[in-house]
């Protein structure tokens, strides 16, 4: 539901993966974004109108994505798809971060675009002060992504783990991910993804900045 930038990109990308796609938008001009090669169904109408959803063959759908520009339309159509048509696999894009949390708690999987984009940008500008990539539901463990600190370049992952108390989960190096072993050596430009305890965050940050023991 919603044939804007996200909706049309999503539709084409699902089609490339050989899924049947039906896309709904209130404005028929929006379907131009799909390009000539799109062979799925286009349905003009309101995304939470049951007749419109039926015209899009929702009864046979394996998944429903609500990605229009309206938070309210998205949550309403997502719930209609799930509760009236029994679609278990439903996702709603929600701009307002606070509402996204509420809906998530009510059982509608949400993609909170604003929070995500803002955090991505903060992480690029202020790698240290960023919100964690992830937090476990109890709030005790967090995952952070850092650019390899200069002082650690040339040292092993094991020495980093021993010194900081954090665990390195994976490293993104030259655009691809790898699972490091203890003797893997940190290289310049590595994006290091590590897990740490929330209450040790300051100590870990300090240890990362200090570098390996022998240098301090």
């Amino acid at each position: 539901m919603g044939c804007g930038r996200v909706g049309s990109t999503l539709a084409r990308s699902l089609e490339r993966r050989e899924h049947d796609v039906a896309i709904i938008d209130l404005n028929p001009d929006a379907f131009r974004r799909l390009g000539h090669s799109f062979s799925g169904t286009t349905v003009t109408g309101l995304g939470f109108d049951r007749d419109v959803l039926r015209r899009a063959d929702i009864e046979k759908a394996g998944a429903f994505a609500a990605v229009s520009s309206g938070d309210n339309s998205n949550i309403i159509s997502a719930r209609v798809a799930r509760e009236q048509f029994g679609i278990a696999n439903v996702v709603a894009r929600i701009y307002d971060p606070r509402r996204a949390e509420v809906y998530q708690r009510l059982g509608i999987p949400t993609v909170a675009t604003v929070t995500w984009a803002a955090n991505q940008i903060v992480r690029r500008i202020l790698p240290r002060d960023a919100e964690p990539l992830w937090r476990d539901p109890s709030g005790t463990v967090r995952a952070d992504q850092i650019t390899a600190p200069t002082r650690w370049v040339g040292h092993t992952v094991k020495s980093m783990q021993d010194r900081t108390g954090a665990r390195v989960a994976f490293i993104t190096r030259l655009g691809s991910g790898m699972i490091p072993l203890g003797d893997t050596v940190v290289q310049e430009g590595d994006l290091i993804n590590l897990f740490l305890l929330e209450d040790q965050e300051e100590a870990v940050t300090a240890a990362l900045a200090d570098g390996p023991e022998e240098q301090s």
């Binding site: 938070d71 309210n72 509402r99």
Partner: protein, 224 residues
């Protein structure tokens, strides 16, 4: 009582004024600066904010409200306001306005709506009530109890014309609450006798509505 009203259009403002006159505290919320006409309802609190956003609802201290009325012209917003009021702020009573009859089916407990008000539905019910004899007309729905306020004008051919209220075998879960006759209200005492043209008002369980019609107007409503 503290009442928050989302949507400060003509509907929201009129409801606000009526409730203020009855001694309630009113907060009017609208996201459109042009709708903030505080001089029109000066005794209400006014808040320029989107009532669908959590931060606005926090500012409005929705948790202190006894009633939230979702009265905007947008059914989507009315559903979301009701849902957030109910699930996030445990507001005891939510009242939501239905703008488009085709959306009415969503206005229920799944969206945190306790009472819905549908202007088109109300108008058609009032028209039917005025012109229909022998058919049951639904005037109001008590959302939390599956009961309706219904009306039936007793037709000339009803077998109960001239009978006393006590002699009518009323179906279960049906309460005759008033008999309107010649512009007056008659209490439904057991000795009162029914006359053709009486407007009978019932509070009835929804499943019993057909029974009422079949009982009082059997020629138009033969038992199935």
């Amino acid at each position: 009582m503290r009442v928050a009203i989302a949507g400060a259009g003509a509907v929201g403002r009129s409801v606000a004024q009526e409730l203020l006159d009855n001694g309630h505290q009113i907060l009017l919320i609208d996201k459109d600066p042009k709708a903030i006409k505080s001089e029109m309802v000066p005794d209400a609190e006014w808040l320029l904010a989107d009532a669908c956003e959590m931060s606005s609802l926090e500012e409005a201290e929705l948790g202190r409200c006894h009633v939230v009325i979702a009265a905007t012209g947008d059914d989507k917003a009315n559903l979301v306001v009701s849902l957030l009021a109910k699930t996030e702020y445990a507001v005891p009573r939510t009242v939501a306005r239905v703008n488009h009859p085709s959306n009415e089916w969503m206005f229920n407990e799944a969206w945190g709506v306790d009472v819905l008000v549908s202007t088109p539905r109300l108008m058609s019910a009032l028209v039917e009530e005025a012109v229909t004899v022998g058919d049951l007309v639904r005037l109001f729905t008590f959302r939390q109890s599956n009961a309706n306020l219904v009306e039936l004008t007793l037709p000339d051919d009803s077998p109960y014309v001239g009978q006393r209220v006590a002699e009518v075998p009323w179906p279960v879960d049906v309460a005759l609450v008033a008999i309107l006759r010649d512009g007056g209200i008659n209490t439904p005492d057991s000795d009162r006798s029914l006359e053709a043209g009486d407007e009978l008002l019932f509070v009835a369980a929804e499943v019993q509505e057909d029974e009422i019609a079949a009982l009082l107007s059997p020629i138009a409503h033969p038992h199935r």
